[in-house]
């Protein structure tokens, strides 16, 4: 069933099961640290997409789709929508579109937390990148079949 890929490596297949969650967690880490340090939505999206891509190469397309759960196209749409929406809150406080708005929260365990619209924008980019890369990759892999 995965005749399209010549690699039938047991090592890769076993490793992929462990690497997938690790890479996904790492991508979220990159996404969150991206505001002030190297990282951000784009690179995090690439890492997450490559995690699924690795899974696809190690197993097959069907399991990759199952593990992704969402249609890549939907991720793309939601990502774009988040990106646009993140610009809107500024308007309600009388500032131009895309002016960043911050909310300071004091949480019991984590302490002080700053949440703002740039994070929403970054999540949007994250989803768009995952969606776009996987849409291309899965379509190509399916065309190979």
């Amino acid at each position: 069933m995965n005749s399209q890929f010549a690699l039938q490596s047991l090592i890769l297949r076993t490793a992929a099961h462990f690497l997938l969650p690790l890479l996904l967690i790492f991508s979220v880490f990159l996404l969150l640290r991206g505001h002030n340090e190297p990282g951000g939505g784009f690179i995090a999206g690439l890492v997450a997409a490559s995690a699924v891509a690795l899974y696809m190469f190690a197993l097959d397309i069907r399991s990759a789709k199952r593990v992704l759960r969402f249609e890549p196209r939907d991720l793309l749409g939601w990502g774009l929508l988040f990106g646009v929406i993140s610009g809107v809150p500024a308007v309600f406080v009388g500032q131009p579109f895309f002016t960043s708005q911050w909310l300071e929260l004091t949480l019991p365990v984590l302490g002080e937390l700053k949440v703002g619209t740039p994070l929403l924008f970054d999540v949007g980019v994250y989803l768009v990148v995952i969606g776009a890369v996987l849409l291309i990759l899965l379509s190509l892999a399916e065309a190979e079949d």
């Binding site: 939907d74 749409g77 939601w78 929508l81 809107v88 500024a90 009388g94 131009p96 895309f98």
Partner: protein, 498 residues
């Protein structure tokens, strides 16, 4: 902070994302598309009204002040263009309700339509030269995909020429922007204009101006870079053709108007003289090319080129009246040209072909359509009292006042030849009897063509309105030209009074 400046860009982006999410539900996509383009048109009208009342409006995106942040600027020319984009976008969306097949919709027609409109509006409103390049790319990416929607062989062939030339043009645009940035150290158009006015070396500025001329000339379909246009515009779905014909080349023309009135006015004798020659050659080659064609949409495509020549002529003469004429011409042209393509689509739907020699007898069978064709066709040729007459009249009057006799001669001759082309279509499609052997082509018939008639009729009514109500339209064009010829208005609005 003026909200309305950003809305015509934000709305299509938002609805584009929404249609992407609604991918699986065809009806929902259609409803959101019509609602989205309708809202965009309303926001564009709001913007025009606000700009008319309060002068040039500026929004500093993300609250980063110019010249460092990216600004959206709406002067009257930009606002007019956004309104025209809204009208043609809305008309296309309504027209697509019937004309677009399920298969083409499934390729992502609606998200791409919104993306294209976002790119077009962004290009019209941005006040940053690099951002202009980005919006051009957004528009091009969407247009590549729309052009090959359906994936037929002829479409691929047209798209390859289209993509290649537009990539060359984009590369040239990018290098011109790089040089300009090296020279002035800024990307904000108002700031560039301000810095160039004290620049010491006009030679290098003229070189950069010519790079801009070539790259925008390719995008506008001006002589000698127009050949991608007739090679590709007759291949996609007709609603896409109509939208392309209405907007894409006009973004190039808009960009020429913007940079050659705001930034490159140091050496008008040289740069605008070249523009004038380009205009004449564009008019002539376009109309002569059309005379040799016998396919409905190809004739119309060649006529886009000759009409672009008129607009550039207005810019090149560079007198107040000529600029008014150019702006008026753009307004008239976008509506008329989109409508002619929409008519060709309806003819195709009824008869199953675009070839003139296979068509015929439409006047007898569809008199209503014949009249709806005549309105934009005669307007294009410049017959009074339709919009095209006033557009040409203003330009030719400007030419006479500037004593540029030869360009006046060319413009008049091209007008005559345009009439010839339109009469050719009229005689072949509507007047002569249809040849027997082509009478039984498979076609959709007239089922569901009510929406199409409605769109075409609405656009034709606008043409008549611009013709009969030329006075208010002229006043808007006049005010737009006044702003274009006084760059300090634009510069002060963006950078603040200094």
């Amino acid at each position: 902070m003026r909200l309305e400046v950003a809305l015509p860009v934000i709305i299509p982006l938002f609805f584009g994302a929404l249609t992407l999410i609604l991918w699986r539900w065809r009806l929902a996509q259609r409803v959101t598309t019509v609602a989205g383009t309708g809202l965009m048109l309303l926001s564009a009208l709001w913007l025009l009204a606000a700009t008319w009342q309060d002068g040039i409006l500026v929004m500093h995106m993300g609250n980063w002040q110019a010249p460092f942040g990216i600004v959206l600027v709406s002067d009257l020319l930009g606002a007019i263009m956004v309104v025209l984009a809204g009208i043609s976008g809305f008309a296309t969306a309504v027209y697509s309700l019937t004309s677009m097949s399920r298969r083409h919709e499934a390729f992502g027609y609606y998200p791409l339509l919104h993306l294209l409109l976002a790119g077009v509006n962004g290009a019209f409103l941005t006040g940053d030269i690099f951002n202009l390049y980005v919006w051009f790319e957004v528009m091009l990416v969407a247009s590549f995909a729309l052009l090959i929607l359906g994936g037929e062989r002829a479409q691929m062939e047209g798209a390859i020429k289209y993509v290649t030339l537009n990539l060359v043009s984009s590369a040239m645009l990018l290098s011109a922007i790089g040089l300009l940035y090296g020279l002035t150290g800024t990307l904000n158009m108002a700031d560039i204009a301000d810095k160039l006015s004290y620049a010491e070396d006009p030679g290098i500025i003229t070189v950069i101006a010519m790079l801009f001329l070539v790259s925008f000339g390719i995008k506008a379909g001006a002589f000698p870079f127009f050949f991608w246009l007739p090679a590709s515009y007759h291949t996609p779905q007709v609603a896409v053709s109509a939208l392309f014909a209405a907007l894409l080349t006009k973004v190039g023309v808009y960009a020429l108007f913007r940079v050659f009135t705001l930034m490159f006015t140091q050496d008008v004798d040289y740069t605008h003289e070249i523009l004038l020659w380009v205009a004449a050659a564009t008019m002539l080659t376009g109309v002569l090319g059309a005379a040799a064609q016998y396919e409905f949409r190809r004739i119309l495509s060649f006529h886009i080129i000759s009409q672009i020549g008129y607009m550039i002529m207005g810019l090149a003469l560079f007198t107040p009246l000529a600029i008014v004429g150019g702006v008026f011409y753009i307004m008239h042209h976008i509506i008329v040209k989109a409508n002619l393509f929409l008519v060709s689509g309806l003819v195709y739907r009824l008869k199953g072909t675009y070839e003139l020699k296979e068509l015929g007898g439409m006047y007898r069978s569809h008199p209503m359509l014949a009249i709806l064709f005549l309105i934009p066709a005669l307007s294009l040729a410049g017959i009074p009292p339709l919009s095209g007459f006033f557009a040409k009249f203003i330009l030719i009057r400007a030419g006479v006042e500037a004593e540029a006799w030869w360009i006046v001669g060319v413009a008049l001759l091209v007008g005559l030849l345009t009439l010839y082309s339109m009469i050719k279509i009229w005689a072949e499609v509507f007047w002569k009897a249809q040849p027997e052997e082509y009478a039984d082509r498979p076609a959709h018939g007239s089922a569901g063509s009510g929406v199409l008639y409605l769109t075409i009729g609405g656009m034709a009514a606008l043409t008549v309105f611009i013709g009969l109500g030329a006075e208010p339209v002229y006043r808007i064009a006049d005010a737009a030209a006044h702003q274009l010829l006084n760059p300090s208005l634009y510069i002060d609005a963006v950078l603040g009074e200094r």
